[in-house]
Symmetry: C2
Subunit: 483 residues, 2 copies
């Protein structure tokens, strides 16, 4: 391991990150909410930490290998998550323990959107803005990670799959120009955010709320500036805007990238993952709609459709915005939607979960096994769209799935061993591992009341989910550290 190079890269990251303390400080100045000093202080603290890593190692430039790549990715999220907790720790307007501050920061940066805070409406605007901004940068980080970096590291089988895919999204073409790709992705991400913010504003949000919620919408983050989340606005128009932009953000950004390059809309429709994604969303919305209608949960059909559409998309894309307390729906639906968050968004989107493409591939193999039983001698290849998928990709997908299930069970049992009640432990694990946000039971509204030990466990779950399990798991193997 080349630790000096690692130190240099981390130093640069933290130094750049310190700059993100300035916008909240300006917000504080504008609203005179009293938190300006905290953010100015946080800026200097982060700057000093960053420079302390950077300057001594500034000349350490080495070619980094795959192993250093894993370390950098993990350190990127853990160090920024830790540094991001600074404002929560030093702000006078909230009283947060270390566990609380780290939880909120990691939850923001991983776009999980689980919060330990309540009484959001009374908090300083600067702090609210900062939380939303954490999600926004986190979302951008995810896309660059998923589209440009993880493929190079070979995590989760997607790199192999795409390397075999003909067309403009081919990684082998992207490889030599991560920076280029990242810049494109950044423009797309920014444009979507602006469009979303303008739409929210036109639909009636204040400009502050519009900006804040556009951040957490495009990042599929789910943080809000109100305790009632999107329910605060009580507006079907705003709900609909949110749904549309969640669906756009749930698509593979490599597809958006290819669209910007080629200007061909047809490629969206030809993408099997996107079609699967939309089919899943439609099925969930319809199921919720029919059950709510049958149980007469809402008096008007329009309200039923609005709520079914919004909640189904919000939970299954792993955004986790709420309107009504959806935990109060007939229990079948919340659990169904919690399970749907295991599927989550498309690979290369800001959504969490296992990702649609992996679920599609596993489904195809299941079908193949059934066919093989009837015709044992026949040869069936797995094809997505028209492209055959190699055994190597399937190996990686299955390994991912099994590791995901294992991490889920271990974290849930660990939570229960701290004495947490079942439905709370179950839903908290689902909500953090899938980077969803809100749970059920004691964590339906916020995570403020659970013990600190549970919060640390959930932080680990968020990281596992966001880093596609293996990026983190590989650091725990002896092979990784052996020369």
């Amino acid at each position: 391991m080349d630790f000096r190079s690692l130190g240099r890269i981390l130093g640069i990251l933290v130094t750049i990150f310190s700059v993100t303390m300035i916008p909240p400080a300006l917000v504080s100045l504008y609203f005179k909410d009293g938190d300006g000093l905290a953010f100015t202080l946080a800026f200097f603290i982060c700057l000093v930490i960053g420079l302390a890593f950077w300057l001594p190692n500034r000349k350490a430039k080495a070619d980094l290998k795959a192993r250093e790549g894993f370390l950098i990715v993990v350190l990127f999220w853990t160090v920024l998550g830790a540094v991001g907790a600074v404002p929560f720790l030093i702000s006078q307007s909230v009283d947060m323990s270390a566990a609380d501050a780290f939880f909120e920061s990691f939850s923001g940066l991983t776009t999980t959107g689980a919060t330990v805070l309540s009484g959001l409406d009374e908090l300083p605007k600067a702090l609210l803005f900062y939380r939303q901004q954490l999600q926004w940068f986190g979302g951008m980080g995810i896309i660059v990670l998923a589209v440009a970096i993880l493929p190079l590291l070979g995590v989760g089988g997607m790199q192999l799959y795409r390397a075999e895919t003909p067309g403009p999204v081919k990684d082998s073409k992207m490889t030599p120009r991560i920076a280029d790709t990242a810049q494109y992705l950044w423009y797309i991400y920014l444009s979507l955010t602006v469009a979303c913010g303008v739409a929210y504003y036109l639909a009636g949000m204040s400009w502050f709320d519009a900006i804040c919620h556009s951040f957490s919408t495009i990042a599929i983050g789910g943080f809000s500036t109100h305790d009632a989340s999107m329910g605060y606005f009580d507006s079907p128009a705003i709900n609909l805007i949110c749904v549309v932009f969640l669906l756009i953000s749930g698509v593979n950004f490599a597809l958006h990238h290819a669209f910007v390059v080629t200007r061909s809309l047809g490629m969206y429709w030809r993408d099997p993952e996107l079609r699967g994604f939309l089919l899943i969303q439609a099925t969930l919305v319809l199921t919720c709609f029919l059950v709510l209608l049958g149980d007469q949960v809402y008096s008007a059909v329009g309200t039923t459709l609005d709520q079914a559409l919004f909640q189904a998309v919000s939970i299954s894309t792993t955004a986790g915005f709420a309107t009504t307390d959806f935990a109060a729906w007939p229990l079948f639906l919340p659990i169904l939607l919690m399970f749907s968050s295991f599927i989550g968004g498309c690979a290369g989107s800001t959504g969490g979960g296992i990702k649609v493409i992996r679920v599609l591939l596993m489904n195809l193999q299941g079908m193949r096994e059934l066919k093989r039983l009837v015709h044992p001698k026949a040869i069936y290849s797995i094809r997505l769209g028209r492209k055959p998928v190699s055994e190597r990709v399937m190996d990686a997908v299955w390994g991912f799935f099994a590791a995901y299930a294992l991490v889920f069970v271990v974290i849930m049992l660990a939570l229960m061993s701290t004495g947490m009640e079942e439905i709370t432990a179950f839903s908290a694990t689902v909500a953090t591992l899938n980077n969803l946000g809100p749970g059920l039971g004691e964590v339906a509204l916020h995570y403020g009341e659970i013990p600190d030990a549970s919060k640390w466990l959930l932080i680990i779950a968020m990281l596992f989910g966001r880093l596609e399990i293996f990026t983190l798991l590989v650091l725990l193997t002896p092979t990784f550290w052996r020369n």
Copy 2:
């Protein structure tokens, strides 16, 4: 499909099955419990049904293909499960709905051991004996199915795995002589039952209880003649006997078969699945022991060890016998043990669950994926013991795992949609799909109070579990029915 041949085989099966009504009738005669007429009547009903299928088709002998094989296996369990419900329906001593009677019968025959009955201690001895006997025949059926028939059908990857395995358990050698193998297995099964029954008797059970519990122990069934299950006897010696025979019955009977043929004990120890099985058991017992000790659930260390050993083995092998109300343990432990029942016994044993060997194989592949991340160019093959495992086997194992998870989620959601509370729905699905028996929440003691619709769903779960998912699932595909 050759439906006349199917009719003939089913007719023979039901006719033979009708004979199993005679031992309970004799038990009734001995104890004068008043249920003799019911079993005599049940005998004639089954006999008439059986002959009605057999006689018109008695000349229809055709070579059966794999597809007819699937149908026969599924019909075997469903038809015998249905016919087995007859005594429950006509007995005057219990008042059972159709759902209750089918539930009890399928639960017995699939060796699940979930019961809708309470007040067992007051029931006629004949009916109690009949329930235990159902499990015993079911257990025998499972072993023949798993060791001799499913491999021919290619379900779940084990046939392929064993076909590649050198040694005396090779399926290709067994294939031409199912009847021979079945006879050997029958002797082993009977001997173990006699040994277990004698041990129980010597440890203080009445001869009736000893026979009844030897039936449900070797079948890893879990039915008892007392509401308090094994707790009724309150005897560490009996608990220990139960544990020993559960562990023996949790081993692949093909290994026992090979031992009888070769008389070499070493082959047990060289079997990687058996080693994995024992390691899992030891870990679970130790975990339960330490947690119970730490929480001071029992005052004496001896009692703690006795209870930890008994409950851990009983639940994780999917027997489901209880002593104390283990649902009252610190919640972490019951949930841990419920999850361990997903692993279950070894393939080819009377235990349920996914089976140790599949879990081992998935674990090996997970490890390989981690190593591949660090050294992407290296070639790693999956080896169990010293034998490489082919991609084809891994495909089947992963397909099995995914289908298992899917069936689990669908049945659990379906239960919740009938209004069942979460922990009850979760544990009931675990307990039936893994052929375990007792659940938590409302089904911790028995399944009598849940709605009929839920009972039918759970019957389907038992069948899915016992028939290794794919045997049943394949019948739902169009490919199967196409010519």
